[in-house]
Amino acid sequence: MVHISDGVLAEWLWGGGWAVTAIILAYALSKMKTEDVPRLSVITAAVFVASLIHISVGPTSVHFILNGFAGVMLGILAYPCIFVALVLQCFLFGFGGITTIGINTVNMGVPALIAYLIFRTGTGLNIRPETKNRASLFGAIAGGVAVVLALLFLAAELLTTGEEFLETTVLVVSTHIPIIAVEAIFTGVIVGFIATVEPELFGKK
């Protein structure tokens, strides 16, 4: 539900989305190291196909976003991850629109970065098997918050098309409750698992 289609938003809004995306992408890619690439690719593949897993909720259909998970796992590189996943989803699955790839990346990518900040602040990235529970908890919070933030971004942008903010927010957040819950649990469990078997993966990025 968070993929905005072509022709919905005003030009200045999707144009601005592209500008913001270009700036963050350039910064994120300048920070990328060779050893980050395999992890980035695997997480991007997960984000790319997660959007095909649908749940029917009331009058609509919702799907997984995994932006919080990407944020926790990749840090700033979650932004290029979401950008590439959205480009592939747009051209291969017809999700969203070509003009709105920029603004859709903002909608999902900026919350992913905020999710990373929550996770980093909560755990201090000092993750060891002994601090596994704390890492799991903050992973889950980050996973859930990222989805909620993405929905708030969407509702705020739909304001410009004449939709009511509160009405849209209540609608999209209430239909996404299962997604928020599952993504929070998923991120928490994966973070807990990695904290046990390979905690170095969360080293400072």
């Binding site: 095909l52 259909s61 592939l88 291969l92």
Partner: protein
């Protein structure tokens, strides 16, 4: 006087004969009229689920001589269906369905037949199904991109190393 009477009898006999020959229904004129009542629009989500797009805003544009004008607006029902009566003399319509940032459109051309062809039906089913081929293509692109990214970052690191 006699002639008038026999004329009267003749008239009576004729009327009775007619009443006997003609079945009673023939007194009614049968009217048959053709009418296209409504065009049906169905909106649903792609990507494997084919879930109906319920309570979405619908705009119907009537297209005549290349000119488009807003003809009707409304909302889909819980099954993602919307029905509207066509305008006399207008054979082409564009339907736009929109809900919370999702938007899709479809052209309906009555001169090409009102129903959907088998090929269109197949295409619709394919669109609604799980796009396996596209998923595999997506993974392929990702592997390619990862390769390019590794080459570029490795080159950057090499340069940095050489400068030291």
């Amino acid at each position: 006087m006699k002639a008038t009477r026999s004329l009267g009898v003749l008239a009576l006999v004729l009327i009775l004969c007619m009443a006997l020959i003609c079945p009673p229904a023939s007194a009614h004129r049968v009217i048959v009229r053709g009418q296209v009542n409504e065009i049906q629009i169905r909106a649903y989500f792609g990507g494997g689920s084919a879930d109906p797009m319920a309570y979405a805003d619908v705009e119907i544009y009537a297209i005549k001589n290349g000119q488009e004008e807003l003809y009707k607006t409304g909302e889909t029902d819980e099954n993602g269906m919307f029905y509207f009566a066509p305008k006399i003399g207008v054979f082409e319509y564009r339907a736009v369905v929109e809900a919370t940032g999702h938007r899709g459109e479809e052209w309906v051309n009555l001169t090409e037949g009102a129903g959907i062809t088998e090929a269109e039906q197949e295409e619709a089913e394919e669109e609604a199904g799980l796009p396996l081929a596209q998923m595999i293509a997506g993974f392929g692109y990702l592997i390619g991109l990862a390769g390019i990214a590794m080459i570029l970052t490795a080159r950057k690191m090499k340069k940095r190393y050489e400068n030291k």
